[in-house]
Amino acid sequence: MSGLQGLWQVARREVTQRGRSKAYLITTAILLLLVVAIVVLPQLFGEETEAFRLGALGDDNAEIVQTAERLANANDEPGGPASISIEVVEFDERERAIGALEANEVEAVIVDGGELIVERTGGFFGDASLVSLLQRAAATVALEEIVAQQGETAASVIDLMTSDTLTTTSLTPEDADDETRGVVAYAGLLLLYGAILLYGTWILTGITEEKTNRVVEVLLSTIKPWQLLGGKILGIGVLGISQFAGTVAAALIAVEVTGVFDLPALDVGTATTLVLWFILGFLLFAVLFGAAGALVSRSEDAQTVAFPMSMVAVVGFFLSITALGDPEGVAAIVGTFIPLTAPFVVPVRAALAAIPAWQYALSIVVTLGFTVAGVFVGGRIYAGALLRYGGRVGVRDAWRGASE
């Protein structure tokens, strides 16, 4: 049996055993329900009409209120429920109107089409949405009056006010997709970051399984530590990635079906880069978490070694933000060739078309090489820490222990 067959057997066991465990099936179901709920539920509630009660005092209010409703509901689907409705409560005395406002019977009071009384302006608890709507409506009414009085001159004033007077010439050719790609790459990074934090600990505790149940000595009498470590990382990684991909797919389908927002169209190149680097990055961190797990003999100790790994992911993530701002800067270029940061930096640079082909290729080689080396180093640590049960083993001890 060749080395990879041993690794494959281990991975297969992980997928079949862990994959049908209750814990896995339940978390998968919960995740799926959760993302669908997050997308769909606001839609269901969002269908309702938002109702305001507005106090009115004096004359000239009706037109503004009508215009406000017209503006707010301009984008509603025909036949569907209106976005807002404003119920007008007429008052004949200012004091009574203010009294109603203070008693929260109305949300604002409009006076003679020229004054608004609110409980407080601005701030977190201010009545901003109704106020700004009414302001816009009042301005529109005023403009419309001017247009009606002055004819074409006013129309051209509005035209002037709403268009760019100076024409702009860009030295960089205009590419509408550029921004989209950047946003998508960034979303991809968020997903990678999330997946690393979510499944890293999974792998870490999974690695301790054989030590906890002490089956490890039987296994290592047959297969090499790197086969066991690699197989476990691959198996748990595949389960993690499929759960993650399933969840993302469910979210995308939910978005598509409900039409919450338009999904950006992706070209093949960007999609390939994203998927490729997601897998590279995931594997790399899986191996890191796996090697860290090799150091602990009990899952209780796992958290202490998980923390530094997560910090590495955080650093990579922040570097990618730097790269987004300055994709050809020194930080971005250095980050391209450091295996731990490359999965975060390269997709961003590629999306912004700011990475030479040789750098792209070299970063793949560096990252993959580091991952493969990580399996062997992790395997050695695993073997070294193996026959010392109890507590945590220092990296140096474990490394030396492997030759014992």
Binding site: M1, Q5, G6, Q9, V10, R13, T16, Q17, S21, E209, N213, R214, V215, V216, E217, V218, L219, L220, S221, T222, I223, K224, L387, S403, E404
Partner: protein, 295 residues
């Protein structure tokens, strides 16, 4: 043929092996004896590459042991352990496949062993649902599911009830008779004496006694003489030469004498005096040899 030659191994300040050597031919069963901490487990682990000796060689059929060789070895470590939540059959099939078996072969072998251990009806249960004794049986099956040529078992009898000991003994004998090389460590010396033709006794990292049990006993410098005598035995016993030790219990004297002692003459005189009720003259037990070797 398994050969461990002059193994040395040091863990920090602790010397685990200092010139450990023994050999084991196929079709033979070797009892590997020694006090706790003598180096038994370290020596066994060296066969599987779990530890790397500082010097010395471990060979199989005259060649250094490779990963491919180990696929035809079976190992039951002292640290028992399997996957608690995995079904018994799946577990055995997995170990079979790790040893390079095809899926179908591994399955039929796994089911065969479960049948042999009366566990066929538990085939689809998880390991953790089995009793301790049955888990031990599965552990043994896991070491043998791939029909290994060499079987190495570290303390296979520890913690077993008499029935399980019987099963284990039966299986090991069967394996040796089928031409497998079997080595196991144990502290149960009577059991080893019953089961094994050959033993190796390790003390302080080196094998101090090895050979066929029969020959070891014959060539031992001492003999056991059990005597039941009427009247005052003390005077009679004084006439016996080469006495090393006398233990008396319930009027029966167990005398350790030099192998060269003329026991025949002594018995004749005792019988002439009409004093001999019962006697037994035997080679020493394995326990005696063991204690002698490691004292």
């Amino acid at each position: 043929m398994l050969l461990l030659r002059d193994l040395h191994k040091r863990f920090g300040d602790v010397v685990a092996l200092r010139g450990c050597s023994f050999e084991l031919a196929r079709g033979r069963m070797l009892g590997f004896l020694g006090p706790n901490g003598a180096g038994k487990t370290t020596a066994m682990r060296s066969i599987f590459g779990l530890i790397r000796p500082d010097s010395g060689t471990v060979t199989w059929n005259g060649e250094p042991i490779t990963a491919a060789d180990r696929l035809r070895f079976g190992y039951m470590p002292e640290q028992r352990g399997l996957y608690p939540k995995m079904r018994v059959t799946d577990q055995l099939v997995y170990f079979g496949r790790l040893h390079g078996m095809a899926s179908a072969d591994a399955t039929s072998s796994a089911l065969g062993w479960l049948e042999r251990f009366d566990l066929a009806d538990r085939a689809n249960d998880t390991l953790e649902s089995l009793s301790h004794g049955n888990q031990q049986r599965v552990q043994l099956a896991a070491a043998m599911v791939h029909d290994p040529e060499l079987l190495v078992l570290d303390e296979p009898f520890s913690g077993l009830d008499p029935i399980a000991v019987e099963t284990m003994s039966g299986v090991l004998t069967e394996q040796a008779d089928a031409g497998k090389a079997v080595v196991f460590s144990s502290h149960q010396l009577d059991l080893v004496e019953d089961l094994c033709e050959e033993v190796a006794i390790i003390d302080d990292g080196a094998v101090v006694v090895r050979g066929r049990v029969r020959e070891l006993k014959d060539s031992a410098p001492i003999r056991h003489l059990e005597l039941d005598l009427e009247g005052d035995a003390a005077a009679l016993l004084q006439a016996l030469e080469g006495v090393q030790r006398i233990e008396t219990r319930d009027g029966v004297h167990t005398v350790i004498v030099d192998a060269a002692t003329d026991v025949r003459g002594f018995i004749a005189r005792a019988e002439e005096a009409g004093r001999l009720r019962h006697f037994a003259y035997t080679t020493p037990s394995l326990s005696d040899l063991f204690l002698e070797a490691v004292r």
